[in-house]
Amino acid sequence: MAPIPIQDTLGMLGDNLERRRSVLPISRRRATAWSRGLEIPARGPTVLYTGQMYQLVPAINAMTHRLSGMEDSWMAGYFGLARRMNRLVNLAGLMARGSPQEVREYNEALRNIARLLLAAHVEFGYLYGVDRYAGALAHDEGLDETLQRHAARVYEDLKAAGVTEVITVDPHTTNLLRSVYPKIVPGYELKVRTYLEVLAALAPKPVERLAEVVTVHDSCLYARREGVAAQPRALLTESGVTIHETELSGKATQCCGGPIEMLFPKRSNDIAARRVEQLAKSADRVVTLCPLCLANLRRVGRPGVEIDDVSSYLVRGYCPRVPNGGAGAELTEPRHAAPAQAVAGA
C-alpha cells in the first residue's frame, strides 16, 4: 500500500510539458473542436486565449478518477515504470481520455464565452493550433526550469502571430500570463484581461432577464491574486440574477481542493465536499468561475445542488437566441434552467 508517488507523477507531467507542450496532451482537433462553426478569425492583435483549460477538464477528471483508484493501493508502486513508458508513448493521454458528454459540455462553455464577446462586439481572433496550455501545474508544483522554457515558447508563438492583447477564460491561464510570465520571460509585453473583465467594462445590456437565485464560488486565484470577483457579480446581477453570498466569498473564498487533485485525490475530494456544503447553505444553484473548480465541486456533488459555469448564465442573459441553426442557436442552459424573461426595452 502506498500513496501516489510525488516524484514519478510530477516527473511524468513535467516530461509531458517538455516533450508534448501540455501536462496532459490532447490532439489539436480536440483542443479546437469548441470553435467549429463560430468562424473566429485565425489571427488578430487581440486573441481569445483558452490555454486549453476547459478542454483539459475531461482528461483531468479521467486521470483523477484513475489516480483515486491507485491511491494507497499496490498499483502506486508502478508509477516509475509508467513514467518511463510515457516518455516513449503518450501514456498519460491514453489514461485520461474523458467522457464525450464532458467534452461536449466544457466545449460548450467556451462557445458561450465566444458568443458573449461577439454579442458585445469585441473583435478577437483565435490562434487554433497555437493556443496552448500555459503551464499552471508546472508553476504550482515548482517545476520552474520546465515552466520557464515552456513560457518562453508560448510567448514566442504569440509574438510571431502579432498578438498584443489576450482575452483569457480561466483564472490559471490569467494568473500565468498576467502575473507570472512577466517575471520569467525576458521582454514580456502583453495586455491580459479575462473575458469577465472585458464584458464588465463594456457593460452590455442584457437581452433576457434571468429570475434566478444563485451563490457564487469564487476562484482563489481570481479573488485573491487577480482582482476578479466584482465583475462576474455585476454581469449576473445586471441580467436579473439574485446572488445570495456565502459566508466565505470574494477574498475570503474557500478553495475547491482542485490544486491537489492529482497527488492527493481523497484529500482533494474531502475539501471539495466541505465547500459544497458551505455553498449549499446559501443557495441550491452554485455559479463557478473556473473550469477546475467546476469539475472538482461537481465531482463530489450533492443532491439538489446544481453547479454550473458562469458562462452558461451569462450567455442566456446577454446573447440573442438565433432560430434555425447558426453559431448562437445552441445556447447551453444550466441543468436546472429556469425560464428567462424578456428585458423591457431590450
Binding site: G14, E141, R224, I260, L263
Partner: protein
C-alpha cells in the same frame, strides 16, 4: 534533528524563500483548509533552522498545500507564504526528486 547550514541559503538563492518575518502566531495553521497542524509555520521554521531532514520527512505536507492564499491574505506579518511553499517545492523537486529536463 540535523542542521544543514547551507539550506537557508539554498532556499533563498534563486528560489526566493523568505520567512524571516514570521511571528509563529499560528494564524496560517488555524485558517488552512487542510487542517494540518504542521502547516505551514512549522515547515518554515524547519527551513529557517536548516533542518533539511525534517523538510524531506514532510514532503507530502509541502506538496499538499493548495496555494489558495487564505493564510497569506490573513498573515499579520505579511509573509509571502505561497511563494515560500513554492520555493520549498522547487528545492525538493531539484535536490531530492531530481525533477526537470535532465532529471531521473
Amino acid at each position: 534533528m540535523r542542521v544543514d547550514p547551507t539550506l537557508r541559503q539554498a532556499l533563498g538563492d534563486g528560489n526566493g524563500f523568505d520567512a524571516s518575518s514570521c511571528l509563529n502566531c499560528g494564524s496560517c495553521t488555524a485558517l488552512c483548509p487542510l487542517g494540518l497542524e504542521l502547516f505551514p509555520r512549522k515547515l518554515f521554521r524547519y527551513a529557517l533552522l536548516g533542518a533539511r531532514d525534517k523538510l524531506v520527512e514532510n514532503t507530502d505536507t509541502v506538496y499538499s498545500c493548495l496555494l489558495c492564499k487564505m493564510c497569506e491574505e490573513n498573515c499579520p506579518a505579511g509573509v509571502h507564504i505561497t511563494d515560500n511553499v513554492r520555493a520549498l517545492r522547487v528545492y525538493l523537486g531539484r535536490e531530492v526528486f531530481h525533477l526537470g529536463p535532465r532529471g531521473v
